[in-house]
Amino acid sequence: GPLSERPLMDVRLGELHTWISTCSFSPQGLLGAVQRAWGSYCAKYIHVKQGGPAGISMLLAGYCLLSYGWNYQHLKRHRWRKYH
């Protein structure tokens, strides 16, 4: 289909900047994008008849990584070696 309506996974690497130019960066656009992303994630991994640990574990792993990133400046002080 047309470029702006394809999901991100179907957009080829070369077309990526055109795709970014087509999506709207207004608050409603961003909100809509976030809602769509969350909705597609839920529909794929959570709202199924037989989900496994995958649905929540990916969210928890993402949370772990995000919180590590947020605390990185503090954790950098506890390095074992000064020069790598």
Binding site: G1, E5, M9, Q35, R36, W38, G39, S40, C42, A43, K44, Y45, I46, H47, V48, K49, Q50, G51, G52, P53, A54, G55, S57, M58, A61, Y68, L75, K76, H78, R79, W80, R81, H84
Partner: protein
């Protein structure tokens, strides 16, 4: 395509958000029935979720790297990244690493051991809910079916009303006829009674006149019989008797 997105996104998104937010969002994003697709009947949930390997990494990632790097590509990538983070101490090993390792061990052990049982229990709960809903639906359908049959029977009965009314009409006509005939009979009887009375009166009158006349004639006749005539008649009778007895003697 857009409709399918809406179909996937809207109910899932609304289900995911907490209820008050969902209600607010509902007013903003609810699709009106402008397209031919409507939200009901809701399509059934897919059986299995997206494939995920080791519980963390979606299968699409492995498929994405397969053409270029084969089967071991993502694992080599993972190992390389891990070693890089460790050696450059982008990931710092501290007490939290140990805690994370212990927690992960316990969690993985728990999931591997009790996962299937919990899944079976949840499935059973779902089955019960679905069975209850199905039973309600079937019962409702059954009730409506019986209602339809009852309605049909009532309609058939209502047709019989026509026959009933015809019979009643016949009855009423017959009653009227009977009444009319009874009254005719009464009239006839009354008229006959009056005429009989007249006839009886005339007969009586004639009878009385006759009797009276006979009596008068007899009385006059008896009065007119003088004693002289009486003696002459008695003597004639005796002579006749003698003649008769003579003829009787001769016969013997």
């Amino acid at each position: 395509m857009l409709a399918r997105l809406v179909l996937r996104a809207a109910p899932a998104a609304l289900r995911a958000l907490p209820p008050p937010v969902a209600v607010g969002v509902l007013h903003a994003t609810r699709p009106l029935h402008t397209t031919q697709q409507s939200l009901a009947p809701v399509p059934p949930l897919p059986e299995k979720g997206g494939e995920v390997r080791h519980g963390l990494i979606p299968e699409e990632f492995f498929q994405f790297l397969y053409p270029k790097t084969g089967v071991t590509g993502p694992y080599m990538l993972g190992t390389g990244l891990l070693l890089y983070f460790l050696s450059k101490e982008i990931y710092v090993i501290n007490h939290e690493t140990v805690a994370a390792a212990c927690i992960l061990t316990v969690i993985i052990y728990g999931v591997k051991k009790f996962g299937p049982d919990v899944a079976a229990f949840a499935d059973k709960l779902n089955e019960e809910k679905v069975a209850a809903a199905e039973a309600m639906k079937n019962e409702a359908i059954q009730t409506l079916q019986t209602a339809i049959e009852e309605e049909k029977k009532e309609q058939w009965r209502a047709e019989g009303c026509g026959l009933l009314f015809d019979a009643k009409r016949n009855n009423v006509a017959m009653l009227l006829e009977t009444n009319y005939r009874e009254r005719l009979l009464t009239v006839y009887n009354e008229v006959k009674k009056r005429l009989d009375y007249q006839v009886a009166m005339q007969n009586l009158k004639r009878q009385k006149e006759q009797d009276h006349m006979i009596q008068w004639v007899e009385k006059n006749v008896i009065q007119s019989i003088t004693p002289q005539q009486q003696k002459e008649s008695i003597a004639k009778c005796i002579l006749d008797l003698k003649a008769l007895s003579k003829s009787a003697h001769a016969a013997v």
